[in-house]
Amino acid sequence: MALIEVKNVRKTFGSHVALEDVSFSVEKNRTLVILGASGGGKSTLLKIMITALRPDSGEVWIDGTEVTKPPEREQEPVRRKFGVLFQDGALLNSLSVGENIALPIRYHTKLPKETIDIMVKVKLEQVGLREAEGKLPSQLSGGMRKRASLARAIALDPIIVFYDEPQSGLDPVATSVIDELINDLKDKMGLTNVVITHDIQSAFRIADWIVLLDRGRVAAQGTVIDIVRNEDPLVRQFITGSATGPLEVRSSEHEYYEDLLNL
């Protein structure tokens, strides 16, 4: 049985259709990568999966629980099953790195302070950041902030981790470090990863299954080999990064001369 199931999800904002009939599933202890161009609906889909947004229709199931319908106050048990690495880390700037990681542990357990301190050190060691425990988030580089945020995401030993553009704004070395961490968490801790990205190289390094979104619809899905061998022009364009092809960069629906004549 799939650990995460997304069924026919549709989401609109006013007249703009952000997601249309999106369906896929993720098996336990696998890494799913959701690829797509900017504005393609990836972040909206992530927010629906982490229960921050409700879809207009469709369902999301996490570990056998429907997460899109229950009210906010009933979401806590399912939220305990996953952690989230936000795009800019979303660490609380007023707390040190160690306090950020200790926060969810303090809130949800009755463990003594000494045990929590040890857990914080263990989590920081898992992401290679033990020396940063006493630092404030503002004193960290972009890559370190993401690793600290990842340590907080796994603080309560979730079964799933969602990553929102974990490689964005990072240099190639820091990107590789994050990719290795994602693979390590899956292999050593048995986690299931869901990664939102537009970084093709990273996607190929970490993915067991890829879903390619185009303007809110699933354009293709499969293993890395399936995607590489896919002859669809849209998939080819995304993989090669070509400026010309079915992935339109120009956003205006009107012709240029119409805009000029309407002046």
């Binding site: 921050a52 795009q87 979303a90 660490l91 700037n93 926060l103 303090r106 809130y107």
Partner: protein, 265 residues
């Protein structure tokens, strides 16, 4: 044209009701998290509230003192001019004491706190909202009202009445100094006369106002922060709206309470 105007007024009325409802809902949640939740579940108020009290008190202490001192000085100068004409200059001490305790102490302190602390609440929490820190708290199963709003609510409920009492004392002191300088009134007699004039009712009236002002400032500034949309521009816009709305509501609440106390309502 008329239909367009009616639609525009209707939209604004709906928006007003939406925000009013939102603020009342936040107030209800803040009351629950501040006074009920600590007896039912784990909170971190001991860790969160004291640094806030210290920060608000330290940041506002000097400016509240200066404003209250100058208000006391101005009151003596403005009223002394009239009272001297009628040979009643000795009554100036009572007038200043009652004005400070019932009205100007709570009001001027609240205005300083709106500008100094309310704006900081909106800017700080609004920045947390746009950088997804508030969403991160929700996803970690930590209620943002419980973690962010309730400690601020408790802190400002404690510190604003304390600052108001302090402002009253400094205002009376400022008045005393000016009465001695300008009208040659004996300082000891001035203070004794002020104490004689003041009733417990005057002090209670000021305290009731300061508690209500604290509630208005906290709820408006936190509501404006938690409804920020659209990045840094949104934070700047909501900070401005927070200050303007708080000032209007503080003066509105002040007039309501005063009318109620004077049996006009």
């Amino acid at each position: 044209m008329v239909r367009h105007w009616i639609a525009s007024v209707g939209r604004k009325a709906l928006l007003f009701l939406h925000h009013t409802g939102g603020m009342f809902d936040l107030f209800r949640q803040a009351l629950y998290w501040a006074f009920v939740a600590p007896f039912r579940q784990k909170t971190e108020y001991r860790r969160l509230v004291f640094p806030l009290i210290e920060a608000i008190g330290n940041k506002s202490f000097a400016i509240v003192s200066l404003v209250a001192f100058l208000i006391g000085v101005i009151l003596v100068l403005q009223t002394g001019y009239v009272l001297q004409k009628y040979g009643q200059i000795r009554q100036v001490s009572g007038l200043v004491a009652v004005s400070m305790a019932r009205e100007l102490g709570p009001l001027m302190t609240a205005i300083v706190i709106v500008a100094r602390v309310g704006a900081a609440f909106t800017a700080g929490l609004g920045t947390m909202k746009i950088s997804e820190e508030v969403l991160a708290l929700r996803i970690m199963g930590i209620n943002p009202v419980g973690y962010l709003v309730a400690p601020r609510f408790i802190a400002i409920l404690i510190i604003l009445p304390c600052l108001t009492v302090f402002a009253n004392v400094v205002g009376i002191g400022g008045g005393c100094l000016m009465a001695f300088t300008a009208y040659d009134l004996d300082p000891a007699g001035y203070i004794a006369s002020s104490v004689d004039f003041l009733l417990m009712e005057d002090l209670v009236s000021g305290m009731v106002k300061s508690v209500l002002f604290a509630t208005v400032i906290c709820i408006v500034s936190c509501y404006m922060a938690l409804t920020v949309e659209g990045g840094p521009e949104g934070v700047a816009r909501n900070t401005m709206l927070s200050v303007v709305t708080s000032l209007i509501l503080v003066i509105f609440v002040d007039s309501l309470v005063t009318a109620f106390q004077q049996n006009v309502l």
